[in-house]
């Protein structure tokens, strides 16, 4: 079953908010993935 959001029925305000949130969170995910590697390299 398709949902309303998947049908693109969200207003532009919501769409922009969602996009911005996802972008910021994706950057955070990347940063935390690299964190242990950076930490280990710094300890060398």
């Amino acid at each position: 079953m398709t949902s309303q959001a998947a049908n693109g029925q969200l207003g532009p305000k919501h769409r922009h908010g969602v996009r911005r949130t996802v972008l910021v969170l994706a950057i955070v995910v990347g940063a935390f993935f690299l964190l242990p590697f950076v930490q280990i390299l710094l300890m060398k």
Partner: protein, 537 residues
């Protein structure tokens, strides 16, 4: 669990399509929530069967039933399946179902990603469980996968890949939940008016985003150490195995809070309903969750006292860990204060909530004991630790999930579950879980190590009691299965829209069963409709 939603009479525009379209291609938060919950229940029984093998082997001293290696596979897989397969997906399922209903949103913000998050999981677990049938066997070095032991396993690559998949699924799920809560609330649903369950999930999602990538990094390093000649954790090449423990527990401790914060949220929904009072100290509840989440990042080394840390580190991590008792105490106090003077009734969800409050607190106290460095030198890697985390995870997280299931099941299916059998399930569970885990405190204090298939005859009696409790607890969960299946497919008694007399919140304003599409027009949020009444404490 809520297959009744198929017979949904409120939705004439989108009649359900075929099975494949509806379930495999689903982008509907309710259907995906149901998929998560069914998956979680399945994993709960698979992980439970591993636990039965463990308790059968430990029924009496001696190597009786299984090979030691298989025993170690069972302890490892039991933990991985229960943590990543049963508890976490259950919370995601409850969040999927209830968060949009509670904040007045038509669906999750990213419905297609929601579908992907779920459908990754069956493949990840099929991959991980299939290693049990490989010639070299599955992983057997414990769910913490410490090197160098874990590097000896020939199935490491499969398990690492499976964990990557689970991690991707969790991260996408967390992003979806944050995007939904921050962007899709109905007008008037201010952040500090959201139900505590929604708050608990918002904070949990941030924990997931911060620590799942760290786990992915840690297991990737295991993989490259084994197959690509790196030596992150190999002293021979200038690495350090203790480093793995730091990275793992930087993930691992927040992870245990990922498994309890949504449980706190569920209890904070159930208690006000059956006490017929707004929750006591709404803001304090929210701030306490945030505070616990923050502290969870600075306590990881309490899992490593016994490796020999610098004294300063011991002291820092000991005090930081004990500090968590403060916000946790605030929560327990507020639940009790919510009940105080309320006109309480004890339907099955409330029974589970009250048991949670008492038994989770026991787990918190044994945690405090373990936080004391000198004491932990004695308790570490004994059954005392096993007792501790089963009190917080079984009578904590799992009881909250079961309580939440009874609480919302009528909303999902449109029918009341059988209260008598729900209560039977509760009383069997609460009695047998204590028979199962309480003696493990004594075993641990007497020095019985964890993760061993055989033990000194001195430990025989308590182990036998624990095993009997284990078998009976396991059998009791079949009652749960029966009640849920009966409610979903065979129950006759219709549920009211506001299923519980004292229930407040937007989710009770939609029909039971919740129609396929809800809040396509944002609802009007009135303060008196919210669970915590007017927020101006």
């Amino acid at each position: 669990m809520a297959h009744e939603a198929t017979h949904d009479h409120h939705d004439h525009h989108h009649a359900p399509q075929g099975f494949f379209q509806r379930w495999v291609m689903s982008t509907n938060h309710k259907d995906i929530g149901t998929l998560y919950l069914v998956f979680s229940l399945t994993m709960f029984f698979i992980g439970g069967s591993f636990a039965m093998v463990i308790r059968a082997e430990l029924f009496k001293p001696g190597l009786d039933l299984v090979q030691p290696y298989f025993f170690n596979e069972m302890t490892t897989m039991h933990a991985l399946v229960m943590i990543f397969g049963a508890i976490m997906p259950a919370f995601v399922g409850l969040g999927n179902w209830m968060i949009p209903l509670m904040i007045g949103a038509p669906d999750m913000a990213l419905p297609r990603m929601n579908n992907l998050s779920f459908w990754i999981l069956p493949f990840a677990f099929a991959l991980m469980l299939s290693t049990l049938f490989l010639p070299g066997g599955g992983p057997a070095g414990g769910w913490t996968m410490y090197p160098p032991l874990s590097l000896q396993s020939s199935s490491l690559a499969y398990v690492v890949f499976a964990i990557h998949l689970m991690g991707i699924s969790s991260i996408m799920g967390a992003i979806n939940i944050i995007a939904t809560i921050l962007n899709m609330r109905a007008p008037g649903m201010d952040l500090l008016k959201m139900p505590v369950f929604v708050w608990s999930w918002l904070i949990t999602a941030f924990l997931l985003i911060a620590v799942m990538p760290v786990l992915a990094g840690a297991v990737t390093m295991l993989l490259t150490d084994k197959y690509f000649g790196t030596s992150f954790f190999n002293p021979g090449g200038g690495g350090d195995p203790v480093l793995y423990q730091h990275v793992f527990w930087f993930f691992g401790h927040p992870e245990v809070y990922i498994m309890i914060l949504p449980a706190f949220g569920i209890i904070s929904e159930i208690v006000p309903t059956f006490a017929r009072k707004p929750i006591f100290g709404y803001r304090a509840m929210v701030y306490a969750i945030a505070c616990i989440a923050f502290l969870s990042f600075i306590v990881w080394a309490h899992h490593m006292f016994a490796v020999g840390l610098p004294l300063g580190a011991d002291i820092f991590f000991m005090y930081a860990t004990m500090l968590i008792a403060v916000p946790t105490g605030v929560k327990v106090f507020n639940w009790v204060a919510t009940m105080w003077g309320g006109s309480m009734t004890f339907e099955t969800p409330m029974l589970f909530a009250v048991a949670f409050i008492i038994l989770f607190t026991i787990g918190g106290f044994s945690g405090l004991m373990l936080a004391l460095v000198p004491a932990d030198f004695q308790y570490h890697d004994t059954y005392f630790v096993v007792a501790h985390f089963h009190y917080v995870l079984v009578t904590g997280a799992a009881f909250a999930i079961m309580g939440g299931t009874y609480y919302w099941l009528p909303k999902w299916t449109g029918h009341m579950y059988n209260e008598f059998w729900g209560k039977v399930h509760f009383w069997c569970s609460v009695v047998f879980v204590n028979v199962l885990f309480f003696p493990q405190h004594f075993l641990g204090l007497a020095g019985m190590p964890r993760r061993i298939p055989d033990y000194n005859v001195a430990f025989a009696n308590f182990n036998m009691i624990s095993s009997i409790g284990g078998f009976l607890f396991g059998a009791s969960q079949l009652i749960f299965l029966g009640v849920v299946v009966h409610c979903a497919f065979f129950a006759r008694k219709k549920a009211a829209d506001r299923v519980w007399e004292g229930a407040k919140g937007l989710e009770w304003t939609v029909p039971s069963p919740a129609p396929h599409h809800t809040f396509e027009v944002p609802p009007v949020v009135r303060d008196e409709e919210l669970a915590h009444g007017h927020v101006d404490d």
